[in-house]
Subunit: 365 residues, 4 copies
């Protein structure tokens, strides 16, 4: 009987359990045995940390957030920091031990669900150690070039939009500016989609460096049209133009290149407060965006990813990753998959629409 | 100053107000005047039924279900049943009167949001009367060939999935079969997507005629694997194989060709009850699926449809319809648009995944 | 070490798992062992159907609908229909066998969570067999005189209100009458609370027999005030005045006293359609109202019920039931508890408010 | 025809629009005219800021968050800071001007919906200027002694619980401690109810000064029982025992008496991180708790408050406030109403249950 092992790694994304559900059910349907490795590769280091997965075991997990396998990132198995009995930290290469266990336990395939870090490690296992690995991409930011969509993103956008809906009425009743910081260190997808569908006046994203004066001008323009409140959505990686160390006080750290590290939402709020005189509040949604039951969109996508991964295993399409190429699923070599990042296109139809319905991006367009 | 008019027609779909919002805001941004015609063409028959739309007026409507313009279908303006003072019903052609008003009021474009019926009428106005018309497709069933997606569908699927989630735990606690009838007269998209993401055991859709015995066998198989409950999702247009008039009693009407008219969910429940002996309940979600605030997915899509419609108006791309061709918006001739219906493909990756995770479609595959 | 057993019986009510959670955690905190009996008394008939409950086991169950113990009602243990090998149904008294197991296994208390049927059986065990039993009331209808509130009710009302919110916008867009049938065979609590908070125009409850003509007059009055739609909420036990067999066709069964059995929502819709000529649709919420994650209100109440039950066990306050007497929990003798039904008071402040904001109850007040 | 005026003041609370809805509808039913004063007393200073309220106008507002009247607090009319043309701020007493307008416009009653600040001003108008005023209490914190419940509280608790549900699965998957700061400057009601129903391990409230070491011990105890994550709910007014200025660095300001001003959630997270070595994140829910559609519980309560206010106006029960004394509504003199604050009772049944299901409050009990 064929045996496969599945692991989940990296930050949380709603839909991980749906992948596990689909992999388990469709592997089982083929008569395979399926095991889950807890906390990334831990189950391959220590077989006590392997769980036998059956249809009964996964019956109710599909709509649940998180991952039943756990996902604590204890680092890269090729260079793992380990504490010895004397309390010293040593960096060990555990990859051979993992491969030995993988072979000894008779697995014919490892389905690795993870972000770009985890997928790179999976690729290295395939290349250097000959592990038959299949990747399933996981990034809540939806910024992977190789696949049109990743699961978790729709849920994160929905959570952020719901928050904006809630803040809308209270901002309006109190003539307030509400600044909401959402996830997106390198790309503005969550900010853009949530901002548009949540009725934001201003959206600030990493792809478009913003001028805080133009942001404030938009808010003042609202006043002229008898709209006395505003909603400002800020991606955590948004960058202010001409930001100097001197300007950044409370809550702002600056990196080597003078960029703001953390607290951009608070920073934007403080500047709006000063420059417009309006009552301005800020809120950081943080981990709320990674939690909760996946939306139906994400459940379907995650299930399809899981189903396709098992079909790829059957075809022995190893060292590849599952990807969505509407309307079908495709196999992309892992080598390519981990390279490209997808940015918000400044000239896309979506951005154009956003501008035309009056949303300001803090630039001169 | 350019003036345009927008109308909404046909059954409800969450996202209609988001289209109106985007059209109003982006027309206004171009310096145009924008008017809404109440209840389809009523505003073009009687200018008292026209509403001036401004950014202030649409400010809060985006997340709302329904349509602020109303959508009561009082029939086809080319052959409208009208009651005269004597109480007699006459069929009148009101199209010339509508065109006269359209010209007299100085509109340069009509944006018609509607289902295939409304789009066909719009196309006829363009062809026969020379009305500069732009169509925006609206069908909650997502079954239009010309566009990859229509707004309202994601919301309907979410509502149905949420219902399935609720029924899941209570079915399990009570060892019950729950049969849920969802929308889909001609296509099974809602049933398929909601059924998969809501963890259904059985999904019955118009594209795959089902055998009630195979459905019951699946439910009995569950028992063997110690699963004593089941969720069955039935599209309203699902068809039983070999269904005879004699079998259909309570709640079942049969059409000319011996097909079941209405009540298929109840019919399925009754047969499961008899054939398996299990406690079986049925529920019809009905209009719940057409209501409520649109999901972020539908809001975004509807806004993009509205924005694209205004850009098409600017380019005078009349007698065309807005369509989604991922990742862009496209213009499709109305003549083509109203033709093709999109059915669930029996060999698609989605259906394959559904079968592999153990879902039964009532056929022999 | 003290050992207790808990069972859940009767129809589903969101919050059952929260009771099990609180009982398990607070019994464990006292150093007791706690067991769950599956499907009512089945675990006491057959120890294989007992589950050891620990804090780890119940860790995640609190927000879940349903009951992890199952609740299939296989009848009264004092007169249980049992099938023998020859396929004949015999009625057996299993109460002594249950008591023997209860004593043999060393339980000092049975916490019985259930509706009036289950509580009566529990009381009989206490009286006739000397079982040290503590009741926890469970009725989604909130119609128990002995306690101010029962868990599950707030969730059911929320589900129904959410449905009304969804139907509101679509009814308005299409000038429709929407008739929604909700639970409440003997009392109108769910209909009343959901109807008021869901903005209903008409609420029909068992406590106030309605006149269908007055209902239609209210809907026609709406028209005069330029409101062309209406929401009608009907409790399943609502009764039409002067209803005769002749009037009831499709979907309506009449009982011995000429009352309508089932389908009252559909009946009301059909009459409104005929008498007002308006486009009228009906919907039955059914089991949706029993499912889903409990609201915070219900979670808190269920947890407090569970905690109080364990304190009562400690005090050996047997043959009593937990009850809410704001702001405290009280112990009520089971003998009393199962008697009184709480009806909607026709002169209560809530009903008065409902009438004053214009809601029609189908009577002449 | 009798004329009344209604105003809303102070911070937002879901349910304000439901009060306006009930007051409008039930005043209209009596044949009265009803006006809304924008932004507190602004409509009484400047009649241009009065809105005529009719059943049509309020038709759809009941489920909406915020208040259609606006609630910007521009200070106390008895001592209002006003900017003159020279840009200087003067403090003016506008109360006589308000009373003149009130009489000139022929109002016979003012229904003032607001928090303790607004109610005190209303009381002063009644006492010093003879304004016939009726108060409706509004505090999201539920900390008013005079009424058992206030609207908005159930919604705030639900929002916070939903956030905890979302964080639960992600905390568990990643072996994390999540610290969530909720509202409650002086009382711990929101923290207590949300914490219990959201499955928190630790709840820190103003009524029980906490010892951070005991909090960390609870988290370490979790580890022993193989639970590697924890949820900590902190009311914004929670106080650490023995907190010294030296300990408080980043994000912490200390007041005159050495108490922490703002950022208590962040402070708790930082200390847990240091003292337990666990991956710890913090989140502040902030204004999310004041927004959104009211729960059915809050809608019902707000509607009953509004209905009772109009009945009190009819009875000329001025200088009184509406209050809930289960199961009825009562009239409480405003003089009393604004006095007592309701604190979490340390010996209440709810707190006892919380402790018994294993929740830690950071004290030695």
């Amino acid at each position: 009987m064929k045996k496969i092992v599945i692991s989940t790694g990296g930050g949380d994304a709603p839909g991980l359990n749906a992948v596990i559900y689909a992999v388990t059910k469709s592997a089982y349907q083929r008569g395979w045995e399926i095991y889950g490795s807890k906390s990334g590769y831990r189950g391959l280091l220590d077989p006590d940390e392997l769980i036998r997965l059956t249809p009964e075991k996964v019956e109710d997990i599909m709509p649940l957030g998180g991952t039943i396998l756990g996902s604590t990132n204890k680092g890269n198995p090729f260079a793992m920091p380990v504490e010895n009995l004397a309390g010293e930290i040593q960096t060990l290469d555990l990859s051979d031990r993992i491969m030995r266990n993988f072979r000894r336990l008779g697995f014919f395939c490892h389905i690795a669900v993870g972000g770009d870090g985890s997928l790179e490690i999976a690729h290295r296992f395939a290349q250097e150690k000959g592990m038959p690995v299949i990747g399933v991409p996981k990034t809540i930011d939806n910024d992977l070039e190789a696949t049109q969509r990743t699961f978790g993103f729709d849920t994160a956008v929905s959570t952020a939009t719901e928050a904006l809906d809630k803040l809308h009425s209270t901002a309006k009743s109190h003539d307030r500016v509400m600044v909401v910081e959402v996830m997106g260190r390198d790309s503005g997808w969550i900010a853009l989609n949530a901002g548009i569908s949540g009725g934001a006046d201003v959206i600030l994203i990493p792809e478009i460096p913003f001028d805080i004066e133009l942001v404030c001008q938009k808010i003042n323009d609202n006043e002229l049209r008898d709209k006395h409140y505003a909603i400002v959505v800020v991606a955590e990686g948004a960058k202010a133009r001409g930001m100097k160390k001197a300007v950044c006080k409370k809550n702002c750290e600056l990196g080597r290149d003078g960029e703001l590290l953390g607290g951009i939402g608070e920073w934007v709020a403080e500047h709006i407060r000063k420059l417009t005189g309006k009552d301005t509040r800020s809120l950081t949604l943080g981990h709320l965006q990674r939690g909760g039951s996946p939306t139906t969109f994400d459940r379907l996508l995650a299930l399809r990813f899981g189903g396709a991964a098992v079909r790829m295993a059957e075809l022995e399409l190893f060292d590849h990753m599952v990807a969505l190429k509407t309307p079908d699923m495709a196999a992309v070599p892992l080598a390519e998959a981990v390279k490209g990042r997808k940015k918000v296109e400044v000239n896309s139809d979506k951005l154009l629409t956003a501008r035309e319905i009056g949303i300001c991006f803090g630039d001169n367009n």
